[in-house]
Symmetry: C2
Subunit: 436 residues, 2 copies
Amino acid sequence: MRRRHPTDSEPPHRVLIVGGGFGGLYAARALRRAPVEVTLVDRANHHLFQPLLYQVSTGILTEGEIAPPLRGVLRGQRNARVLLAEVRGFDLDARSVAATGPDGEAVTLGYDSLIVAAGASHSYFGHDEWEALAPGLKTLEDARTVRSRILRAFELAELAGDEDERDAWLRFAVVGGGPTGIEVAGQIADLSRRTLRPDYWAVDTAGARIALVEAGPELLPGFPEPLRGPAARDLRRIGVDVRTGAAATGIDAEGVDLAGGDRLPARTVIWAAGVAPSPLAGLLAAASGAGLDRGGRLEVEGDLTLPGHPEVLAVGDMVALDGVPGVAPAAMQQGRHAARTVRARVKDRPAPGAFRYRDKGSIAVIGHNRAVGTAFGVRFGGLVGLAIWAVVHVAYLVGWGSRAITVGRWLWTLLARDRAERVIAPPPAALADARP
Amino acid sequence: MRRRHPTDSEPPHRVLIVGGGFGGLYAARALRRAPVEVTLVDRANHHLFQPLLYQVSTGILTEGEIAPPLRGVLRGQRNARVLLAEVRGFDLDARSVAATGPDGEAVTLGYDSLIVAAGASHSYFGHDEWEALAPGLKTLEDARTVRSRILRAFELAELAGDEDERDAWLRFAVVGGGPTGIEVAGQIADLSRRTLRPDYWAVDTAGARIALVEAGPELLPGFPEPLRGPAARDLRRIGVDVRTGAAATGIDAEGVDLAGGDRLPARTVIWAAGVAPSPLAGLLAAASGAGLDRGGRLEVEGDLTLPGHPEVLAVGDMVALDGVPGVAPAAMQQGRHAARTVRARVKDRPAPGAFRYRDKGSIAVIGHNRAVGTAFGVRFGGLVGLAIWAVVHVAYLVGWGSRAITVGRWLWTLLARDRAERVIAPPPAALADARP
């Protein structure tokens, strides 16, 4: 237990941060030496290192390795506390936030400065009925569901009474050709060709057919142009059926309908396509009069404040800013910028002004031994790409314990061709019912 | 994929093993050089190293570390295959077993020899309504639920509006003074005194009160007498309130009623008391005319066969045999004995006769730095006990990868005073509703 140490007679400036993702966490850390009292509130008790979530969904890493408790991460920061509660509403005039605790109890949190970093979840473009058929990949629960679906499909293929049934269970489709879609498709290919093959009798798992469906004309929309071709080529080389210019128009238990009338049979479908900002974006817009863009993201000022509310800032995937992509480094940079703005405010110094995104590069992993990326304008690929990817991602992981174990897991996956986490979780009743 | 290699013109002797716990897995492995075709069927895709399940429930180990996939474990055994299905019934005359696959498909499995090792789950002594209030500790899902409940209670204490509410969330009760109950109670004490303390602001987690409730006159019933006193003494030393001779007569959201009228306030209750054999024990009894003991366990012949059915054997926790406790080593020994009986049958040699249990010792861990146990009649305790415990348990873990990582986790827990897995999983709707 750590009690606050009163530094002077004045009550300290209260900074409330909503969300413990990259934006919120980097804001909190950037305030560690400021004369403020930071409260970080999140509905989960953990940070989530989303760029590695696909590795939990394919059995490489454990939940704890990419999801350290927020309390643990901020343990050494004397001016920061953490609360487990879900934010439900804002009263910008009263400068207070309404939330509910895990047991439903009402919690009211006052603030002097507010940083909202509530992120995004997946969107099914108005087809919420697809969710039970094609789970997305935004939370740890999602990753467990996806992992269980993939491994379960191979078990069902092994049990199948005839060739047709067996083949049906060996068809996978991943919808969405961004980094997550590419990485998941590559990992399913890797699982079927390398990891699982020696474990089955009736089924040759290497016969699995994995399709990657992207509505746009090329994979990796938003990535630098020279990466898109190599990504598709590398995926095809490991046996992934890459379909670009193919929007999903329907999903059912047996497959995916594509725009133009094509039908893709697949009993296991994974959703890596749409992203929708947290509903808190809409609440903030209504409370402040700020606009929302076509995707529902909050339109903030150039310095990340809400119009007319210099004490309220919003950062990360829930925010619309020209030229800023919805990636982890952008959220980190915005979180730090928001903290700088708050520090200036507390010390009555000039504000740092408009946020500017610095693009340090992009990178995506394909299968077990290659990656494509750019850094500072230089393009790279193959095993070199994978090594750069590994160094960058390990560097951003929280805590040296996680880093060491994560590297160990990667070596294990690469050398022993095995996966550490292959438990099939029992499906929630709702999902079990969705399949006829 | 591995196809069977026909060894001669005769079809091989088919051994069907139901259950991939210690009994079934050790039976399968003991048949690795026998001229038989082994099929191991389980409703989960993994073995479960139950003696370490309490470490998953308290954040030390991950699921994969104690639950390797059965396919992986038996990968190197050419005569063994694995099926994911749940057994529903036996036709002993037709020598076939009815099962259902994970998608509900009917599977019929024929056999020449049958070994049933379906284990046990927890029993609430007729009070099934206690399950939602006091989760047990038999499956990985149970461990996730228990871990989430424990960590959630500290979060709710931190959120609490007043002292009374805070204290209510800091009261824990563990029902059942066997090894699991002792180990869980010790770990909650350790979490509250060591791991979580630096992470909270409003709450001193070391103020948590953990009660261990045992209906019998002493802890560790069934363990050698000289261990019982030290166990209670060591637990009290780390602050656990040990209540013996105290049967639970009622459980609600605020605590436990004890026989004699005492009331133990506790918002978090964990059940480590009753054990009930798999329902397959009853089905086998009905199919063969074998009896069931008072606890519902199957009464087998001394050689583990069913009366009148020398081709059907049952082993492990679902079986009643005088002088054989329901512990992992007993199940392993019975599994191996059943395999020897089958080998003798296949080769037309004399059967090995009656099963004899060899007690090599018992051991239980208390908190983070001591254990009590006996081995070959010698009693030990303290840190030496913990070291012996660690060596024995690591030796029985499957795979050197798991062993190395598990030892790493233990050192991490001991030295860094941290836990690797602290994710609070969202509660299933049914459990969330159980609390008013």
